[in-house]
Symmetry: C3
Subunit: 130 residues, 3 copies
């Protein structure tokens, strides 16, 4: 079983849920009435944090689980925690200014790429050595 990876998946989902709730609050704070998602630059940065996190979900979640299954539950969970930490930095930075999103973005991208590379390498190894 993959208890640690399952736990980190729950944490990542909860963090993403929190980011979605921030957008709902920002709609009220900045007076951006639905269905609009533009109109105030501070709102738009909060919205882009959500969209970018959503955009990375199909990279992060499959890589996380393939890494867990093909390599290690504990190591996948540890890299998943790094991804969440990078995402938190990205959120706090981007909310201040578009320029301040770089460091958090690099950390989460690095964690996701390591998960992906590890999974790909292990899958190829198993295909070559059945």
């Amino acid at each position: 079983m993959y208890h640690y990876t399952a736990l980190v998946t729950c944490l990542a989902t909860a963090f993403y849920f929190f980011i979605c709730a921030r957008v709902a609050r920002a709609h009220i704070t900045y007076g951006v009435k639905l269905p609009a998602t533009t109109g105030h630059p501070d709102f738009e940065r909060v919205f882009r944090v959500q969209m970018n996190t959503l955009e990375w979900m199909p990279i992060f979640l499959p890589s996380l689980w393939l890494f867990a299954i093909y390599i290690s539950d504990g190591l996948a969970a540890a890299l998943g925690l790094v991804w969440i930490a990078g995402r938190i930095l990205y959120m706090t930075g981007y909310s201040q200014a578009a320029k301040k999103r770089g460091r958090g973005f690099a950390i989460q991208a690095g964690a996701a790429v390591l998960l992906w590379l590890g999974a790909l390498g292990a899958i190829c190894w198993r295909l070559i050595h059945p």
Copy 2:
């Protein structure tokens, strides 16, 4: 095996596909030419229904499957059906007016949160009682 959860996953995917097709039709009906996704409030509400459903997918699908694996296939599938029903209400309400999206949203959010809480609780239980 998790036949009922697999079936509900197919149903949720099909419903989401239907919501995407509605947006394609709305592009024509309201004369909103791609790549634009704004310009007519009725179109924008149809578009936001799709976006919001997409935004909830990374919350719903992992929670559904972790609940199925750690607790029960049948119960996960039943909560998944409640989620789809809430999503249908959300779609019909939001298509009429932005104000009418509340009840459907609350139902689907409740179902997703129950799936998430159940999965998290069961994962922690297994980690503490190996």
Copy 3:
């Protein structure tokens, strides 16, 4: 194990990652400063390629894996490759003009629908013949 489907999942994720990187480059090329995602039609088409691929991920990935588990790893992977090929055609066509996105879209939609229909049929068969 589902080695071929796992490999195709890695390839689909890598292709989607490449599409996201194109958007980051297009922000610079067309002078569309974040958090904005509109303002230049050439940028908007590149952006819509990413959004549409993201929108199809919750249809493609669950259908791919349910097909692999319920029917065949090799056949799922082959249809997954067709989906990626259709997505590449869609990307190159749409980047030229909104009208040229049709053929690639149809190919990837066909592959995804086959995966979905196969999974649904096999799940129902197993539920009826336990």
